[in-house]
């Protein structure tokens, strides 16, 4: 029996050395195998390896990926990233809890079917609120749609999974090309099903087209996207495509092969028309076109550098990458430029690290280059932990070769021999794409002992981050690769001097590496023509929140907030009034409407109390409560603090205490002074960037929205978001349709058909369900 119990773990251990650096990979493998970390298995690890119980428990309890308790059969993850938060994801979470009959402090239903949890950010911000059940992602989940989501999951779950279509589409392109977006957002919105439908349709119609998966187009608000490029004709882009639409779209552009197919196709479609009761006009509303004004403004003012060839290339097709000048810069560096010349050009480009702090990349490379050491490491930081940011994910998923090229160039310039991709385990698609891309690069001689016969030896492996926001900080990231808790270290020494396993280590952000090939491939002036005096080039942002067109955007530095929101984003969603934009996530701040003309660069953002951060832009409208936003970020940083230094560990908690009091209507004006003082000390006294920037969301909202804090202290939440300060009521426009009463999860509304309904305030849990279902807008919050 014992032998059986340990077969799997012993097999896992066999592949590892069993030393400290294996701790996280071993724990990940155990969790994959057992779905949690059983104690006896962990003890087995300690018995069989040099790993100590203290190491194992210290690490497994630090990272959010690991579970020490068994879970239900399925895991429901409710995203509480910023974009989801402002779209009331907490209410969705509560509703799931009620739907599953969970007691407080319980996360798994009694039958053991589901485990419910909050997750920091799934990186699908444009589909907020987002819920993931096992591998299936649901976008735009509202309180009132929770039950439908569960039912839909259960129906789906009963059925066998769709098999990969064996008869995949060949690549002759005789008739043209069909491109389908397969970024995470697209997949989350159902593009996998659309892909299956396309494959089926193409097979049914025996078309000779090439179907191609492409990376993120950036138009995440329109997903799933399907682009049809008939040979020699204008391409047409369809957005928000449903599987049922596919046949018609394809029939519109391609003629089936042969009479039998054509006949079958028309009959089939006729039948389908009857079945789905949809006519052709029904689909047109989904049609988009590059020349159409809205879209051209979304894409038009953007400058794709890190995201070059967006939506046009298959992420993993190395030939396509090469056709678009891929590896051109690398060859140029290896053949024509000395390491010093490469660094000179990077310095000349003025490139600053895209991870947030904006340290000049060239200077960092230079310091790293001069370090004398047998082993030097390069790490691509893809540990995108900001709630509300998904740039790294998109870049890794869509442009793996570009990032790899940037890393190889860095290796050439600085004499490093070994590289790591540090990617969050929450980004499985990114991990998959990068690992395939690395394999292909090795096969093509771009990685290995003698890259392109230049004598350069460089190899890259992937390290999967196990979920800790602090690991975006480079010293914490290094600690985590070493197999430790992600405790940051005091700098100096900087990692470029003494980093991974005490060796010099260059850590650059994903976007930084993705920008390198463009700078070196062209004249540097091609890059420096974009941007401002102190911040050159472009910046990739994740635009989300209350915006009409959210998505991944790449814009020249110096663009104003107004241009981003109005031109690219198409203005605030639902015609509401713009209130602020949150930039830089938990380290950043809220920029109010009065500063909407601020040009965005590293310095200007600091001046207005925000920060570039990694580039999350969450738009807030007049229904968003700024005190709640500050409280939201503080609760995030508090729980993500590594717990090492006093000012961060306790300081953020005490700030959160004060904010909780204020949003509960128990604040005093003295609290505001104390909050400001404590914010100042937390900034000053914390050891690393997390604590030093954690107070920014509080300080910036205190600066620009102090009146909202004061309103809470006087007992009102002006936007009706803070549950303790609001009441729901129904006015006399109620038509007595009973929808609210039927939808109320706690029977706070009596079922009184054709009469004005009344909410029992003692029972009401303020879930917002009644307001959402009311067809007459008769439910009010005040």
């Amino acid at each position: 029996m014992e032998g059986d119990r340990y077969t799997a773990i012993d097999a896992i251990l066999k592949e590892k050395e069993g030393v400290q650096k294996d701790v996280i990979p071993i724990l990940q493998a155990i969790q994959n195998q057992y779905h949690y970390l059983p104690e006896d298995i962990l003890k087995r690890v300690c018995n069989q390896t040099q790993i100590t119980p203290a190491m194992l428990m210290g690490v497994s309890s630090f990272y959010s990926q690991f579970r020490l308790k068994p879970t239900g059969e399925h895991i429901i993850k409710v995203c509480t990233g910023t974009a989801c938060h402002v779209k009331r994801a907490e209410l969705v979470y509560d509703t799931f809890g009620r739907a599953l009959h969970l007691e407080p402090n319980q996360d798994t239903d009694p039958k053991g079917n589901y485990t419910l949890e909050k997750v920091n950010c799934l990186g699908c911000c444009t589909l907020a609120p987002v819920v993931q059940i096992d591998e299936i992602t649901y976008g735009h989940v509202e309180v009132e749609s929770v039950k439908r989501v569960l039912t839909s999951f259960e129906n789906l779950n009963g059925q066998p999974k769709t098999k990969e279509n064996a008869n995949n589409i060949n690549g002759n392109k005789n008739d043209g090309e069909i491109r389908i977006g397969l970024g995470s957002c697209c997949i989350a919105s159902g593009s996998e099903e659309v892909k299956n439908s396309v494959e089926l349709a193409v097979k049914e119609n025996a078309l000779d087209v090439q179907m191609k998966r492409v990376g993120c187009v950036g138009m995440c608000h329109q997903v799933p996207l399907l682009e049809i490029i008939p040979k020699g004709k204008e391409p047409t882009l369809y957005s928000k495509v449903q599987p049922g639409d596919v046949n018609k779209i394809i029939n519109q552009h391609f003629k089936p092969q042969g009479i039998w197919h054509r006949l079958k196709s028309s009959i089939f479609n006729m039948v389908e028309d009857i079945q789905t009761d949809r006519n052709w006009e029904g689909i047109e509303q989904f049609e988009l076109n590059y020349r159409e004004k809205q879209v051209s403004s979304f894409l038009g003012t953007q400058v794709p550098i890190a995201t070059e060839h967006r939506g046009a290339i298959d992420p993993l097709d190395i030939d396509e990458y090469k056709q678009g000048f891929g590896f051109f810069a690398l060859k140029k560096c290896l053949n024509e430029l000395s390491p010093d010349q490469v660094i000179d050009k990077i310095e000349e480009s003025g490139l600053r690290g895209r991870g947030g702090a904006g340290f000049p990349t060239g200077a960092k490379w230079q310091t790293f280059k001069i370090q004398q050491s047998e082993i030097k490491y390069i790490i691509c930081n893809g540990d995108e932990g900001d709630p509300g940011a998904f740039m790294d994910r998109m870049l890794l998923e869509s442009y793996p070769y570009r990032i790899i090229e940037g890393m190889i160039i860095a290796a050439h310039a600085t004499g490093a021999s070994k590289g790591y991709f540090y990617i969050r385990a929450e980004y499985p698609l990114a991990v998959k794409r990068i690992s395939e891309a690395l394999k292909i690069c090795k096969e093509h001689g771009y990685l290995g002992k003698n890259i392109l016969d230049s004598g350069l030896a460089f190899d890259i492996e992937i390290f999967q981050g196990a979920g800790a926001f602090i690991c975006g900080e480079e010293t914490a990231l290094i600690a985590s690769i070493e197999g430790n808790r992600g405790f940051p270290k005091l700098r100096p020494p900087y990692p470029v001097q003494q980093g991974l396993w005490e060796c010099p280590t260059l850590v650059n952000n994903t976007e930084t590496f993705a920008t390198i090939p463009f700078i070196l491939r062209n004249d540097v002036a091609n890059y420096t023509k974009y941007g401002t005096e102190n911040s050159k080039g472009t910046k990739v942002f994740a635009l989300a929140g209350k915006i009409n067109r959210g998505g991944l955007i790449e814009v020249p530095m110096g663009i104003t907030i107004r241009e981003i929101i109005e031109d690219i984003g198409g203005g605030v969603a639902e015609g509401r009034k713009f209130k602020a934009v949150q930039i830089g996530g938990p380290s950043g701040g809220c920029i109010p409407e009065s500063l909407i003309n601020t040009p965005i660069d590293f310095n200007s953002l600091k001046e207005v109390g925000a920060m570039m951060g990694s580039g999350g832009l969450v738009v807030l409208d007049d229904t968003d409560c700024m005190v709640d936003i500050a409280r939201y970020f503080l609760s995030f940083t508090q729980s993500e603090s590594c717990g090492k230094c006093t000012f961060c560990r306790v300081g953020t908690m005490r700030m959160l205490d004060i904010l909780n009091n204020i949003t509960a209507g128990k604040g005093t004006s003295k609290d505001l002074d104390e909050l400001e003082k404590l914010a100042k000390w937390t900034k000053k006294g914390s050891l690393c960037g997390l604590g030093q920037t954690a107070p920014n969301p509080v300080l910036s909202t205190l600066t620009y929205f102090r009146h909202e804090y004061e309103a809470h202290i006087n007992g009102t939440c002006p936007t009706g978001k803070c549950q303790n300060l609001i009441k729901y009521s129904i006015d006399d426009t109620c038509i007595g349709c009973t929808k609210c009463a039927q939808n109320c999860p706690v029977d706070a509304i009596a079922f009184t058909p054709y009469e004005i309904h009344v909410i029992d305030q003692d029972k009401c849990i303020k879930c917002d369900g009644c307001r959402q279902v009311c067809p007459e807008d008769s439910v009010h919050v005040r």
Partner: protein, 519 residues
Amino acid sequence: MIKLKVNGKEIEADNGLTVLETLKKEGINVPTMCFLDNEEHFPTCMICIVKDQKTGRLIPSCSTHISTGMDIISNDEEIIEARKTALELLLSDHIGECDAPCQTNCPAFMDIPLMNRLLANGQFDEALRVVKKDIALPAVLGRICPAPCERACRRRNIDEPVSICTLKRYAADHDLEHASSFIPDIARLNGKKIGIIGSGPAGLSAAYFLLQKGYQCTLHDKNPLPGGALRYAIPDDRLPKEVLDQEIDIIKQMGAKFLMNFELPVDGLENLRKEYDGVIVATGEENADFDELVKKNKSFVTEKNTYQTNVDGVFAIGSAIKPGRVAIRAVAHGKEAAFAMDQFLNGNPVTGEAQLFNSRIGRMLEEEYDDFMLEADPGPRIETTEFEGFTMEQVQKEAARCMHCDCRKKFDCKLRDYSGEYDASQKRFFPRERPPIRKIFKHEPLVYEPEKCIKCSICVRITARHKEELGLTYIGKGFDVEISAPFNDYQKNALENTAILCAEKCPTSALAIKKHDEV
């Protein structure tokens, strides 16, 4: 060698030194809590913060290495405020009490929990010494004290308070039964004379403490016998005269002189003041003398903590200044005034005895009753008659009901010392709802109280360096991070070789030796 500035002075120091080490070499002390010599530097507490003037940044001196051109300021207003704020943040997450509530509620601030532990252990003489450190007349008070300590006793929440007063009486009576009773150490006569007006509990207590410091004390009283209200206002069945006489006799043995049938001179204090180096007015409540004195010395004002009056060298205590006739309060005044008088006569600033910082927890929570009871005898309060007192068995059983609310390291706690030094306020950030206290007794011979832990990680580093098989580790992250042994069932052998070392190095009493006062 590295050239840098320390507090404006140019110095040279060896490469590789930390700022803390450099400052130490310059004779500058910096407070530290998470720092431990010979262990890996792992800055957590931030109390050792200093400033690099060059960058304006605050840096943890224990782990920052010196570099050329640094301009270190080791102490200025900003640094003091930073340290104070760090302490206040730590105190908001340090749930525990330094002194037990019974002791803080005792006007004489007697170390009641320690007395209880000694009595429970049958160490009656040692218990008496603890009592007599603060209380001059324990046998008397053991009979008549209203026992404010028992009102504060946390055992009250569970059943009934510990019979502190009667326990103290046992210790005192037991001592008086000896052929020669306990007499505290007396310093060599310092040649200074104190006149005490009134020989009630306040005057006797003042004499008791001043005598120990080497002063010659003379008590003046209008009555024929000493004792004041103790003798003349309390009936014999409550306080037998022989008990009072026995305890006064000890004070006599210590060298006190008594001038009985003494009439207050017409000139008030003037002549007395000339005769003595210091005068203590302890005339009691229903005594016209004090009113007279006040009349004769217009605007006679007493300082709150020192009992010093506006007449030079004259201190006033007891019911004379605060009516109410609470003997324990009078005794406490006597003790405190003796301290202040000593400061006065030594030419020091008269401040009274400094109160140590005291961490408080507020009300006890129901969730923590069980853990508090882990060390206490679960039996009911033992009642006795006023005449009898306890038997020896009863004493030991009753004293064992004490729950050990006081801190095991109350005299050896860095957090307490620095909080006092920096005048830190625990209330500033203390949460409205505090977590319940846990007392974990799995690590023989230790007690672990996680809610007192300030996460300095010294024990984690010690156990790792000494290669404990299990050791201790951080569990979790964020504010909720905790130090614990991995896998709960293993806790008892987490500290095979390093238990005592960890307890000794713990800067608070999160990890402490269970039998800390070796009873």
